[in-house]
Structures are given as C-alpha cells and as structure tokens.
C-alpha cells in the first residue's frame, strides 16, 4: 500500500470510512491473507452450500493483552467460535470475521493478527467467508476487538443437550485448567510475573469429531470452559436440572506452574478462564473409554466428578482428607486476592 499511513504504519480513521483507503486495507491485508473461493466473491454476504442440521454461534473477543505467550486475539477468535460449534456436536465449516480497530493501531500488528487467523482457520479446517472492518476513534477501543460467528453442520450421531444428563454420570475434563487465564494474567499491567505458561488456545473440533464418531449420543453434554472458568460451566449444569455435582479436588488437572501462579495471586484455578478446555458428561459405563480417547490428545484429561441427586443445584468439592466445600459461581471477575 503506497499511502502515508502505510509508511507511518498505523491505521487511522480513514481506513474505516468506507472509501478507497478501506478497500486498500481489505485488499492488501484481509483478502490477501484469507482469500478463498467464497470470500473472493466480495458480496455483502457469502453464498454457502450446506446439508442437514446446522449449528450457529457468535463471540466477540476483547482480550488484553492482544498478544500473549501461545497466541493472540486472532487465533483466539477463530478457536473460540470453532469450539462453541464443536460443543454443539457440529463440524465447524464457515466463519464470519468482524474487526473493530482503534485508530492508531499498528498496521504490522494487524497483519500479524490476520496471519494468525489464517493459520488457526486452516488448522481448524474452517473458511472465513464474510467479514467487516470498522475503525473507531482513539480512546474508544482497545487496539482491536474481533467478532467471529460460525456455522457448522451437526454430526449425524450428535445428541448433546443439558437435559440428557443423568444421575451417576461422569464429569470429565479434556485438559489442564486455568492455563490460558494465567498466561494472560502474567502479562497484565500491575500483576506481571515471569513464567513459561503458554496459553493452550486450540481448536477442539477434531477431538469432538472423534468423540462423536466413537460414542455418538453417549456424549451427553459438552461445554468449553472459558470466561468464569470451570466453575461457571459446572454451575450451568447444576442449575439447569435437578442435579448437583460431586467434585474430587485432587483430580482437577492443573499444571504445577499454573498452580503456583494462582497461589502467588491468591486465585482459585476453578474460576480462571480457559481456552481449549471442555467439560464432557458421559454415562459412567463409557467413562474410561472416553477418557482414553481424550488422553490421546492430552494425558491430563481427567474424571473430575460425578452427577448426583444428593445436593441438587450445588457443587461440592471434596479434598483428599475429606474436607468438603461448596463451589459457588464467580461473582464478577476474579480479582487477585492480595491481603
């Protein structure tokens, strides 16, 4: 792009005006990196050919910092919506992509984000087929916000629903928890600490596809644990039906450095945000088979609890020595507990 702003390397309001500059931004970055047959049509919307039942999901990504160990807002935005579709038992197919860029954002960082989006989309096997770009005034954004919406085709054998959960079902988690949240936290102003904690943002659709193929309706419920941590998802289960959950504290998989970072800031890993982590509720009879499948991807996968009718609506966590405490839902955001 031969414009002043490319040279000076920042995105200003002119890029959002719907004029020539915006077209250059789209041509030189967005369409350049994300091109595919459907997106290339460049109409107001994308034309899709799909068969069967669909899943449809949306999420906006407002993470800070934008770049962190293990990823950036770009792959987060792809994986997040891919995962929400996967949690429906669907095969994610197409994504929309909408940017809200704060003026002054560095062109190079935008390019880096778009490249990550391309990588993440190709890794997850989805296509970005339609998009939108807005530029807002300085002080009215936070660098960049991204919304992705996604369409997937429901797997023929999928029968996922919170209503399918039964007493005695096993609650499984696919991977260590709290990793992503602590990777982000380690770079926040006022809290920084040194660590090698790397966000585990990842697409879960391939794993879910395997689960569907092998177990079909045996997978009764799936949900990825993002904001609000594991506790939020468990609460959804506990408040939806007439069940409670018995958690076994020592079985919660937490990487040791992640746990230590939580100790330092006084945080409880069950409330820390995740990416690439999901809960899976299955009949106890297939528990070990499902775990085995999950452990191919991540040996940390664990059986963390059981659905119970003993204390409906409540999640009770038991420690190794028999101490029990209630896991309440998060109030607001978990803030570092210092004193």
């Amino acid at each position: 792009m031969q414009t002043n702003n490319q040279t000076s390397g920042i995105i200003d309001l002119q890029y959002g005006g719907g004029g020539e500059q915006m077209n250059k931004l789209l041509d030189d970055v967005v369409f350049h990196y994300l091109r595919n047959d459907i997106l290339n049509v460049r109409h107001d919307g994308a034309f899709l050919d799909l068969e069967g039942r669909l899943a449809f999901s949306t999420d906006s990504y407002v993470v800070s910092p934008l770049f962190f160990k293990g990823g950036n807002i770009g792959d987060l935005a792809v994986n997040g919506t891919v995962n929400d579709l996967a949690m429906c038992g669907a095969v994610p197919r197409y994504l929309s992509l909408a940017f809200i860029i704060e003026e002054g954002f560095a062109m190079q960082r935008f390019v880096d984000i778009v490249k990550s989006i391309r990588m993440a989309a190709s890794h997850a096997g989805v296509q970005v087929v339609t998009g939108d770009t807005k530029v807002v005034e300085h002080g009215k954004g936070d660098g960049i916000y991204i919304n992705t919406s996604g369409i997937g085709t429901l797997h023929a054998r999928a029968a996922i629903g919170i209503d399918n959960i039964r007493e005695g079902d096993a609650v499984l988690v696919n991977a260590s928890i709290a990793t992503h949240g602590m990777a982000i936290m380690s770079e926040r102003e006022g809290l920084q600490f040194g660590s090698d904690i790397v966000s585990d943002t990842a697409p879960l659709n391939h794993t879910v596809l395997t689960l569907m193929e092998r177990f079909g309706g045996g997978i009764r419920f799936l949900r990825d644990a993002t904001r609000g941590g594991l506790a939020s998802i468990l609460h959804e289960i506990a408040t939806a039906g007439c069940f409670g959950i018995d958690l076994v504290e020592e079985r919660l998989p937490v990487l040791s450095d992640v746990r230590n970072a939580c100790e330092l800031l006084g945080l409880d890993p069950v409330y820390v945000a995740n990416e690439g982590v999901f809960i899976c509720v299955v009949p106890d009879s297939i528990r070990e088979a499902v775990l085995e499948t999950l452990r191919i991807e991540d040996p940390a996968a664990a059986h963390i609890g059981t659905i119970t009718t003993d204390h409906p609506g409540k999640i009770i966590s038991a420690s190794a020595f028999g101490g029990r405490h209630v896991v309440h839902p998060l109030v607001g955001e978990q803030l570092p507990r210092i004193c």
Binding site: E189, G190, L191, N260, E263, L265, G266, A318, S319, A320, F321, G322, G323, R324, H325, V326, H328, V331, G332, L335, P336, R337, I338, C339
Partner: protein
C-alpha cells in the same frame, strides 16, 4: 511448592484431626484472628472435620473488611478526580461505600487500577508525571512495612506525585478490645502468622498473661492450622496460657527488625476506626508529619461527606465472635457476594463470604 505443599499432606491432616479429637475433652472456642486463616479453614472444609466441642470463631482479621466506609468514600471520591490514578489491591475494589464501590466508580470513569503491590504504584506515578497517583493502602502489620516502603521508594526515586490513602490496623489492640468485652467467650487464639513474622511475639506475652488465654501462632496451610489448634487444645485442657510459636519457619520471637524500623519510620500509632466495631484507641497507624507530602488525606483535604448508611449488617457481632454468619438475618438473602451489605461478605477472607463461598 517447597514450604507450602508439604503442609497440605492429607495423611498428616488426618493424623492431626485424630489427635485433636482425642485431646479435646471439654468445649472450647478458639478464635483465628486472621482472615487468611479463616479462608484456609473454610476452603479446605476443616470446620466440618473438627470435633463438635472445638468451635472456631472468625475474628476481625481481614483488613479489607474492617476498612471504614468513610475511607472507601474518600477513595471513590479521589478516583473520580480527573487527574488522579487510584491504585488498590484487588479485594478492596468491590467493597461497598456509602455511595458506591471503587469498581462502580471505575465504571463511571474513575481511573482505578488493580495492583499486586504498592511498589508498582510508584512506577505508575513515575510513568504519569502529570497525574497524582494514590495507593489505597490498607493492611495489618504484615502489609504496613511494604506500604511504608512504597513511600521511601518514591522518595528515593524522586517521585513526588505518589501518595498513600492509608488505613492500617493493628492486631493486639483488637484482640484486647475483644477480650475486654464482658460477653467475650473466647478461650484461646490462633496467632496471625504473618503479622507475627513482622512483629514477633513480644506484644502477645502480656496479653496471654493478662487475659489468661493461650495464643498459638499459626501458619496458613491445613497442617499448620491443625497443629496450632491441637496445641491450643492441649494448653486449654491442661490450663496453660502461653504464647506458643507453631510457625517457626516464618516467625521469630523478635519478628523482623528491619520491617518494624521501616514501618515506624513512616507511620506512628494512632486511633483507628474499625468497620463494624468502631474506634479503638492506638489500634492503627497514621502517616507521620515528616511524610505528609505522601499522605493523600492531607494533600487532598478530604471531607467525609456521606453519612454512613443504616444497615442490617451485624458485622460487629460477627467480627467479635458473638455470632456466626448464618445467624445474620441478611446472610445469603439480601446479603450475598454479588450484593454485599457488609464488608465481611466482600473479601473472600471476610467471615461471611468465606462461609457463603465454601459451605
């Protein structure tokens, strides 16, 4: 982690629980003064594992919970000034003031930053010379030296746009106020481990002697706590009332000399209001005249413009050990962590929140 994880060993926990069950022949009420200990007891589900005749009473040891509402109002007021950056520990920002909490002030445009350390606030001040940076410095003796350090650090770096809005509380006067109360029924105390790491045991000997109560200094992990409870029960059953240190890896008889020097360099003892309890003489620390340039309450001539809201909160009774949170009519109904009526429901170390969150 070394010096941490080994004190969570389940076998040891069970062993100490068995010991306590065997040793406790009479009914005892033991107060853990420190909110961090309350948090640990509740989160680890230990209250349900103690014998019925050993009842833990949760003391006023959460600095967030005892910070007076008028001071929160002042912090809110400061945060809303266009040229002030108000820095605070995370626990403090949700505590309701008379008009609003710091989190709500932030939503209204107040520049409120949540920090891990007061020293970080000095760096923020250095980076924002056109702003006045105020650190909302609450804490017991554990935290006071670090807050004092922030002033010395700012002075050292020549950062003049940094100040503390200080509200420090001292443990021994609070214990004395509780023990002086004619209705007091507490038989023994767990000493606050990290307060003692700074202050040492010197102040506790006269207390134990005067009121004839055992004071056993405790750490924060399950084994630490149970060990200290066990030794308290042992003393009680044998009629002793010693100051006993069961947190020797962190606490020395004389405490941390340098930390005390730093603390008294910047602060001096003064009267202090405790939320839910009232004014207790000589129970707080105020910034000395020498450091007035770093004292936000003097820089800003803060007026206390709001009358305290009348409230159903029985925080005072809770903090003094007369009542348990579930005996409060508001507990779990009008008063929940999402909408705390009183401070003990706000901080996860507050007695009411600890009960609500983990029981």
């Amino acid at each position: 982690m070394k010096y941490l994880t080994e004190y969570r060993n389940p076998a040891l926990v069970k062993d100490y629980l068995a010991k306590i069950h065997r040793a406790a022949l009479h009914p005892w009420k033991i107060m853990e003064v420190c909110g961090g200990q309350t948090h640990s007891l509740v989160k680890n589900g230990m209250l349900g594992l103690l014998p019925e005749n050993v009842v833990m009473i949760h003391g006023p040891g959460c600095p967030v919970c005892v910070t007076p509402m008028s001071l929160i109002d002042q912090a809110v007021q400061l945060s809303l000034l266009p040229d002030v950056i108000l820095c605070s520990f995370g626990d403090m920002v949700r505590v309701p003031g008379n008009r609003m909490s710091l989190l709500q002030a932030k939503a209204r445009g107040g520049d409120v930053r949540i920090l891990y350390s007061p020293l970080e606030a000095v760096h923020i001040a250095a980076a924002n010379p056109a702003k006045q940076v105020v650190f909302f410095a609450v804490g017991f003796e554990t935290t006071a030296p670090s807050n004092a350090l922030a002033i010395l650090y700012a002075k050292k770096l020549g950062v003049s746009n940094f100040a503390l809005l200080a509200s420090h509380v001292l443990v021994p006067p609070a214990m004395e106020a509780i023990l002086d109360d004619p209705f007091c029924s507490i038989d023994g105390f767990l000493g606050a481990g990290h307060v003692c790491a700074i202050m040492g045991l010197g102040e506790y000997h006269p207390l134990a002697a005067k009121y004839r109560v055992p004071i056993v200094v405790a750490g924060f992990e399950p084994v630490d706590l149970l060990r200290a409870i066990y030794h308290t029960v042992l003393q009680l059953e044998s009629g002793q009332y010693e100051v006993e240190n069961q947190y020797t890896r962190a606490v020395r008889e004389e405490g941390n000399k340098r930390a005390k020097e730093v603390m008294y360099e910047v602060f001096e003892v003064g009267s202090q209001e405790w939320r839910g309890i009232g004014h207790i003489p000589d129970s707080g620390l105020v910034i000395k005249d020498t450091y007035r340039a770093f004292d936000a309450s003097r820089i800003f001539m803060l007026a206390n413009r709001y009358a305290n809201r009348p409230s159903a909160c029985i925080a005072g009774d809770i903090l003094k050990g007369y009542k348990k949170p579930f005996e409060c009519p508001a507990y779990g109904k009008a008063c929940i962590p999402a909408n705390p009526l009183g401070a003990p429901m706000v901080s996860s170390e507050g007695a009411c929140a600890a009960y609500y969150n983990y029981r």
